[in-house]
């Protein structure tokens, strides 16, 4: 089977992509990439340009599957491409299986519910997590000449201050199991131990912490030395964005999924542990 892997910079995709017997071709939205067979002649700024790029590649090439990374401009292009050409798009897959000549995307949903999803179109489209860069050293890429977009104009590009969670060495994560009245004590504990504070999406949606504190699919990825997860159930969308050297989990639910991932598992009420921890930490100061 022939696969087109579409990315901007993050082309690591999942190990399944590399272990399958697919004939892989790479298309990068970054015109300076050295890891692509296909490159655009100009920067791709929106999904219509992205679709133009993929469409022109497909004029002379037939693919059985097109795999898109979950980088914003790429997954935006994927959904626009699917809509334009009526292709079935399996979105938001954490991994996929190859079974009886079909691609099955494993899509996580709410409350640790997962679904096996297939596309009924040809080619099949799938968006996969892809979080790092692999140097493929592909030479002599084919340059695809694109039309300038007529309805969208990029006016400016400003640097943003990097989210401190991304470089934090120690993070305290707040989940739905932390009651509102306990949050100030949690924040104080984090401050005393020099930790950044992050949270799960439901906590961000409830407005308990600002949106830039959300760790997960709809927030940031983090790689701290220590992650202290308070009242976090361990939903895939959150926990797969945490790449910690050591995880401490506190949850009153003995069956919380987080305990599968934690190095130190405390099955107690968050409030009880935090209050006693505060006493211990303050006594040490």
């Amino acid at each position: 089977m022939k696969a087109l892997l579409v990315f901007k910079r993050n082309n690591s995709f999942s190990k399944e992509v590399w272990s399958l017997d697919l004939e892989n071709y790479f298309a990068s939205f970054d015109l300076t990439s050295r890891s692509a067979n296909f490159l655009p002649d100009k920067e791709i700024i929106d999904s219509t340009m992205g679709v133009d790029f993929i469409s022109r590649i497909m004029e002379n090439n037939k693919f059985d599957i097109i795999i898109f990374s979950d980088e914003l401009i790429v997954k935006e292009t994927a959904s626009y491409f699917a809509g334009k050409y009526n292709f079935g798009l399996i979105a938001h897959s954490k991994e996929f299986l190859f079974k009886e000549n079909n691609i099955i995307g494993i899509v996580p949903g709410w409350e640790n519910i997962q679904a096996d999803v297939v596309s009924t179109s040809d080619p099949k489209l799938i968006i996969l997590k892809s979080r790092s860069i692999v140097n493929l050293s592909l030479n002599n890429p084919c340059v695809i000449y694109l039309k300038e977009p007529t309805k969208v104009k990029l006016l400016s590009n400003e640097k943003i201050v990097e989210n401190p969670l991304k470089s934090a060495k120690i993070i305290v994560g707040v989940g739905r199991g932390v009651e509102r009245n306990v949050l100030p004590r949690v924040l104080e504990f984090a401050r005393l131990i020099g930790a950044e504070v992050g949270c799960t999406r439901p906590v961000g949606d409830a407005g308990l912490l600002p949106p830039d504190k959300v760790i997960g699919d709809s927030g940031v990825d983090v790689s701290p030395d220590v992650y202290i997860a308070l009242g976090i159930s361990g939903a895939i969308q959150h926990i797969e964005s945490v790449n910690a050297n050591y995880t401490i989990a506190i949850n009153s639910d003995a069956h919380a999924r987080i305990f599968q991932k934690s190095n130190l598992s405390i099955n107690q009420r968050v409030e009880e542990v935090i209050d006693k921890l505060l006493v211990l930490v303050l006594s040490r100061l």
């Binding site: 219509t48 959904s79 809509g83 798009l89 709410w110 309805k151 943003i160 120690i170 131990i193 107690q268």
Partner: protein, 256 residues
Amino acid sequence: MAQTDIVVNVKVVPEKISIDKETCRVKREGNSIFNPLDLVAFEEAVKLKKVSNASISVISMAPLKEKDLLKNLFKYGANRVILLSDKNFAGSDTFATSFVLKEAIIKLVHNFNLIIQGDFSLDGSTGNVGGELAALLNIPFISNVFSIESYSKRIIVKRIFEKIETFAVDLPSLISVRREANKGAVVDLFSLVESLDKEVEVYTSEMLNLPEEKVGLKGSLTEVLNVFQDSPVFEGNLITSNGEKTIFDFLKKVSI
């Protein structure tokens, strides 16, 4: 912006879901709520309405029982609330959903110039509908937006992707918003009074003249083979008392 309609797509999601172990189907439990990011989208529409001569038409594809919940959107400032409800819509994937929304927008909201919705929904989380719907309507699509300003025949939007990107986008267009755009829609006193005599408009597949093969399961281009709930069994060492001491000793050891 001249007199025009802003369309806001609002999804109704369950507060809680689980799996029926016998049928392997998703069971919706508890109350229904508005998808939080769609309320953020709605508030962006309200901000634009205040500075331009625009009206807000909400479109929602949902079961008929959600009509009363949707009626509340008049209090937030909606001029029209349109409920697309039909048993034939059941099982729609994002493509089939986008098709139904596209047909409804074209047939029911003639002067639409801008469509706003949340980046993704709480339950599905695919984020596919924005791009698919924009492609079906052949209009530009920008996602992850936190700021929208209007200027005559185009809008200026800002979004975060590696940097803060500012775009000028021709109308009509579809914008999906991220959480940071605002704190979400709130009830407006003036709209509250005006809402008293407004009703939700309900449209079925037949009323919209939709071909049966283009909606629901038949119109979907993806298929769910199996749904399951991951319930892992923990076999490690759970500490059930004096956890704070164990944590404190660890923090001392790593010099925190």
